[in-house]
């Protein structure tokens, strides 16, 4: 028997001075292999053309459809209704700027954070368009790729108690991004330069190890491992010069 699903969806349009934040209920019949992406599109087509939400790839690649699904951040296109109870509550991701209903602007946040950590390869080499591209060891390329799989959906940030309390906290995705450049042999930044970026209370030392980021990341990034290694690496970077040589450690990511 197909279920009738009841949806409670957050509604608010900041552009409209008459709009007040409220929850609106919808019912819809469940179909086979239904995702929340399908639900939202059907709701907009069949019941309420004013409903705002984001998506583009519908395949867990663009990261646009992040929202709070029954209390937990996740990707709408990645979430099947059959894994959810009959009553489903959808809220926009906290922390990010609300555009309307379920749509938030993650771009501004990510841009600001990436600017803080200077999210690009720092190199003094002058680019030669005629030369062959430098080769990279396959294992290194794979390690970088593993962290590069982040789709910037913002779910890890929205789930993080530290990020909720303190808006200057870099968050798991940004720290993961720094780790990605640490792995990249083309980036010539020194440990000291990385320390200046993340060796702070806004960076890795602000993380309280709640691991909500790990538990919600829809791409299953190894955030727990990355955060642990970053903390160790930065902690040792700060004390290596005062430790006796047998205690010194150079942590590899």
């Amino acid at each position: 028997m197909a279920r009738m699903l009841k949806f409670n969806i957050f509604r608010y349009n900041p552009q409209d001075p008459n709009s007040v934040p409220h929850m609106q209920a919808y019912t819809i019949d469940e179909t086979e292999s239904m995702t929340l992406f399908i639900v939202l599109n059907r709701l907009r087509e069949e019941q309420d053309p004013s409903l705002q939400f984001d998506f583009s790839c519908r395949a867990g690649i663009c990261g646009a459809c992040g929202m709070v699904i029954n209390g937990r951040p996740g990707l709408a296109c990645h979430t099947k209704t059959k894994d959810l109870p009959e009553e489903i509550t959808l809220m926009p991701l906290p922390i990010f700027k609300l555009m309307g209903d379920l749509s938030v602007d993650t771009g501004t946040w990510f841009r600001a954070m990436y600017k803080k950590i200077e999210s690009w390869c720092h190199t003094k080499k002058v680019f030669d368009p005629a030369a062959q591209e430098e080769r990279m060891d396959n294992a290194v390329a794979e390690a970088i790729y593993e962290l590069d799989r982040c789709v910037e959906c913002g779910c890890c940030v929205a789930a993080c108690g530290t990020a909720l309390m303190r808006e200057d906290f870099l968050g798991a995705t940004t720290l993961n991004r720094v780790a990605r450049f640490m792995l990249d042999p083309r980036d010539e930044r020194t440990e000291k330069e990385y320390f200046d970026i993340i060796g702070t209370d806004e960076g890795i030392f602000g993380c309280m190890g709640l691991l909500a980021c790990q538990d919600v990341c829809p791409k299953y990034l190894p955030l727990q491992d990355v955060l642990g290694k970053l903390r160790k690496k930065m902690a040792f970077a700060a004390v290596n010069n005062i430790l006796p040589s047998f205690l010194r450690k150079d942590i590899k990511l």
Binding site: G71, R72, I117, G161, F195, I197, L227, A235
Partner: protein, 219 residues
């Protein structure tokens, strides 16, 4: 150089203080865990008999571990408190955010942190009182402890302090392991189960010891 987020005439240098504080918070926490395990051995030795406990207490006394170690632990306790309290939100807005997040997400690890932060405040007050009373009344003997607990007031006092400390210590142990990358992702779930069991056992041993003191015949 990181890009300064406020307009200063030049980028503020990033010091190492955050890193030192994080080290100290972890190391004082770890030292306190080790201490609590030793503490448990001393206190629960009453289960083997007042003679065993008195022998242990005497050993700590003649080796000056009580007179020197006690105040040192008190110092570690205060240092740990000051450092870790920096993470506890004092603004009600932040407290509500943290609680609402834990509830909304039904997320155990976020709840564990909430428990850690709340038990911390209880431990600060009750643990402080306890340490003061014991350390200003050396030497430690089974009879003195039993007499204190049999007043009734201290029995109830310890009934609250015991689970708070064990929870805080248990969660703290787990947190050090995850924060400092000692566990991989599967390892996290294995440790969590064991840690829960261990905390349960410690609370049980603590309760039994308390009862033993309570019913210990006084001369």
């Amino acid at each position: 150089m990181s890009v300064p987020s406020t307009a200063t005439h030049e980028g503020l240098p990033v010091g190492k203080l955050s890193a030192y504080f994080d080290w100290l918070q972890m190391l004082t926490g770890a030292a306190l865990i080790l201490f609590m395990w030793c503490h448990l051995i001393l206190v629960s030795s009453i289960l083997l008999g007042p003679g065993v406990m008195n022998a242990l207490a005497w050993f700590f006394e003649v080796t000056y571990m009580a007179q020197v170690g006690g105040p040192l632990i008190f110092l570690a306790f205060l240092l740990h408190f000051v450092l870790a309290a920096r993470k506890i939100p004092f603004a009600t807005g932040q407290q509500r955010l943290m609680l609402a997040n834990a509830k909304r997400m039904r997320h155990t690890d976020t709840w564990l942190w909430v428990i850690q932060a709340t038990t911390a405040m209880g431990i600060l007050i009750m643990g402080g009182i306890h340490m003061w009373v014991v350390l200003t009344n050396l030497p430690i003997t089974a009879e003195k402890s039993a007499a204190r607990i049999q007043t009734g007031f201290w029995f109830v006092f310890y009934l609250f302090l015991l689970p708070m400390v064990e929870l805080h210590v248990g969660i703290g142990f787990y947190r050090i392991l995850v924060k400092w990358g000692f566990l991989d992702r599967p390892g996290r779930w294995v440790i969590k189960k064991k840690e829960n069991l261990l905390t349960g056992i410690f609370i049980a041993i603590g309760l039994l010891s308390l009862l033993r003191y309570y019913f210990l015949p006084l001369k």
